[in-house]
C-alpha cells in the first residue's frame, strides 16, 4: 500500500467526527435525538442528554487531535478506540433497543440497520490505518494532490452511501427524479373513486340521522346516472332491512344524499329519509322597514 493512503485517513475521520459532534453539541434538536437514541436505555432517560453531549465532546477532541500531525500515532489509537466503541454501541442498540434511533450523524430518526454497522466498520478500518501512518497528512496531500483528493472523495461517498439518515438528501431525490421521468403511478382520470363517495356520505346530514340504524358496513354499490347507490344492512324495529343511500356521483353535495329502507323479502319500502331543506327566509328578513325615530 502506498504510504500516503494511511496518512490521509485522519482527514476523513476528522470530517466525519466533526459532523457527528456538531449534531450532538450544537444542533437544536440534539435533545430529541438523544432521547430517541439507545443511550436513553443504556444510561437512563435523565442522563441521556449529558451522555450524548459528552460523546460529542470526545468526538470533537479526537477530530482535532487527528488534524494535528504531532499527535500521531496517539490520535489514531484514540480514533480506533472511539470507533470500536461505536460498533459496540450499535450492537447494543440493535439488541436492547431495536426501535431506537441511531442518533449518529443526523437528528432524523434512523433505526440501526446493516448500513450503520458497515459505516462504523469503515471508520474502524480507517482509524487502524491512521494509527499506522508514517507521515502526516499535510505532507501526503502536498506530494500526491490528485490521487489524494480522489481517495478522500471516494471514502466520503462511501460514508454518505452508508448513512441511512442522509438518504433524504440524495437517495430520495434521485428516486423522486426517476418518478418524475417515468410517471409509474396512475395520473389524471375523472373516475370518482368509491372512497370519495363514501366520504361524501359520511358528511351528509342523512347519514348523521341514520348511521345508528346500520348494522353492516358497505355491502354493495352501483351507479345509476347521476347517483351512486350504496347498500348497507339496517335494523328497522324488529326487522332487518336494506338501507339504500343515493349519493350524488359527480357533484359534492352531501345535503342531497337520500335514504330508503327497503325490506328485500317483500320489496316494500319501509321508510325514506332526506335532509331537511333550508327553510325559506321569513318575510321580516327581506322586507325590513327602517325603524321610525
Amino acid at each position: 500500500m502506498h504510504p500516503w493512503i494511511p496518512a490521509l485517513q485522519p482527514l476523513l475521520l476528522a470530517a466525519v467526527l466533526l459532523w457527528s459532534a456538531r449534531l450532538k453539541l450544537a444542533h437544536p434538536l440534539a435533545e430529541a435525538a438523544a432521547r430517541r437514541s439507545a443511550l436513553a436505555q443504556l444510561v437512563g432517560e435523565a442522563r441521556a442528554l449529558p451522555a450524548y453531549r459528552a460523546v460529542g465532546a470526545v468526538e470533537a477532541a479526537v477530530a482535532v487531535a487527528l488534524l494535528v500531525p504531532a499527535a500521531r500515532p496517539l490520535s489514531g489509537y484514540a480514533s480506533a478506540a472511539l470507533t470500536t466503541g461505536f460498533v459496540a454501541y450499535l450492537g447494543y442498540a440493535r439488541i436492547a433497543a431495536p426501535e431506537s434511533s441511531c442518533g449518529c450523524m443526523s437528528a432524523a430518526r434512523t433505526p440501526v440497520r446493516w448500513r450503520a454497522f458497515a459505516r462504523a466498520a469503515l471508520l474502524v478500518a480507517a482509524s487502524v490505518l491512521a494509527a499506522t501512518a508514517a507521515t502526516g497528512w499535510p505532507a501526503a496531500l502536498a506530494d500526491h494532490p490528485v490521487p489524494a483528493a480522489a481517495l478522500l472523495l471516494a471514502e466520503a461517498a462511501a460514508v454518505l452511501a452508508l448513512s441511512a439518515e442522509l438518504d433524504r438528501h440524495w437517495l430520495d431525490q434521485l428516486r423522486q427524479l426517476r418518478v418524475r421521468l417515468t410517471s409509474p403511478l396512475p395520473a389524471g382520470g375523472f373516475d370518482i373513486p368509491l372512497a370519495s363517495t363514501v366520504e361524501q356520505l359520511h358528511r351528509s346530514p342523512v347519514w348523521h340521522d341514520t348511521a345508528g340504524l346500520l348494522t353492516s358496513d358497505l355491502r354493495e354499490h352501483w351507479d345509476e346516472e347521476e347517483w351512486r347507490l350504496l347498500l348497507f344492512t339496517a335494523r328497522h324495529g324488529e326487522h332487518t332491512v336494506s338501507a339504500v343511500y343515493a349519493v350524488p356521483r359527480l357533484r359534492y353535495e352531501p345535503a342531497s344524499v337520500r335514504l330508503a329502507l327497503v325490506d328485500e323479502q317483500t320489496g316494500q319500502t319501509v321508510a325514506t329519509h332526506t335532509a331537511t331543506p333550508d327553510t325559506p327566509l321569513p318575510a321580516w328578513v327581506n322586507d325590513r322597514q327602517p325603524v321610525a325615530a
Binding site: P184, P186, E199, D217, R219, W227, H236, V244, A260, V262
Partner: protein, 203 residues
C-alpha cells in the same frame, strides 16, 4: 352480473331515487339512533367481546367461515346476505380464501356461532413512509420493514390533505409519510392498496 341482481338493484334504486311512494318522515319514528341500541348488551370488563372475532380462515363451508383466532380460539362465523364482506372492495363470501385474515363483528348466537354483520378480510392500516415508487407500486417502510403496496387501477385512491379521494396518485412523493388502508396478501410483505392518505406539504 345476473338478471336477478339487476332486478334487485333496479328495485332498490327506484326506492330511493324513483320519487314514487315516498314514505313520510313522520313514519320514521325508529330512525332515531336510540332505536338501534334498544337492547344494549352488557359486557364484563376484561372479558373478550363476544360479538367480535379475529383470526385466520382455516375452513369454508356453505355460509360459514371457520376461523382460528390469534389467541387460538376457534370461531364459527355465519355469513348471510345481510352481511357486508370487504376484501379490498365490498364483495361476498366467495372472495374469502383459506389462509386469509379477518375481523368480524356481529351477534353471538346461542349455538356459539357469530352471526356476522360485517366482515373485513385481510384489512390492514399502515403508518409508513414511501421509500421508492415503481410501476404501480409503492415501496413502504413500516417500522423498519419493507412493504410493497400494489396500486389496483380503478380501485386504489388517494386522499391528499384530507380532501375527497381521487384516483390520481401522481402527487405521492418518495420520502413522505402516508397512511395506507389496504388488503394484505397473506404470508407476504405485500398489500393491495385501497386508500392512501397523504399530505402534500414537505416537513
Amino acid at each position: 352480473m345476473t338478471d336477478n341482481t339487476l332486478d334487485r338493484r333496479r328495485l332498490l334504486t327506484s326506492a330511493v331515487v324513483g320519487g314514487a311512494g315516498l314514505v313520510a318522515a313522520s313514519a320514521l319514528g325508529s330512525l332515531a339512533p336510540e332505536a338501534a341500541f334498544a337492547a344494549p348488551q352488557t359486557i364484563d370488563a376484561g372479558a373478550p367481546d363476544p360479538n367480535f372475532a379475529e383470526g385466520r380462515i382455516t375452513g369454508i363451508a356453505a355460509g360459514m367461515l371457520y376461523v382460528t383466532g390469534s389467541d387460538t380460539a376457534l370461531h364459527r362465523i355465519r355469513i348471510t346476505n345481510a352481511t357486508s364482506v370487504w376484501k379490498l372492495i365490498p364483495t361476498g363470501i366467495d372472495a374469502a380464501a383459506v389462509g386469509d385474515g379477518l375481523y368480524a363483528r356481529g351477534l353471538r348466537m346461542d349455538d356459539g356461532t357469530l352471526a356476522a354483520d360485517a366482515v373485513w378480510i385481510n384489512i390492514v392500516n399502515l403508518q409508513a413512509h414511501i421509500v421508492a415508487i415503481g410501476k404501480n407500486q409503492l415501496h413502504l417502510d413500516h417500522k423498519g420493514k419493507r412493504i410493497v403496496g400494489h396500486v389496483v387501477p380503478g380501485r386504489s385512491a388517494v386522499s391528499y390533505n384530507n380532501t375527497p379521494a381521487v384516483t390520481d396518485m401522481s402527487m405521492l412523493k418518495v420520502g413522505r409519510h402516508v397512511q395506507v388502508i389496504g388488503a394484505w396478501v397473506p404470508d407476504t410483505n405485500e398489500v393491495q392498496i385501497a386508500t392512501v392518505y397523504a399530505g402534500t406539504h414537505s416537513h
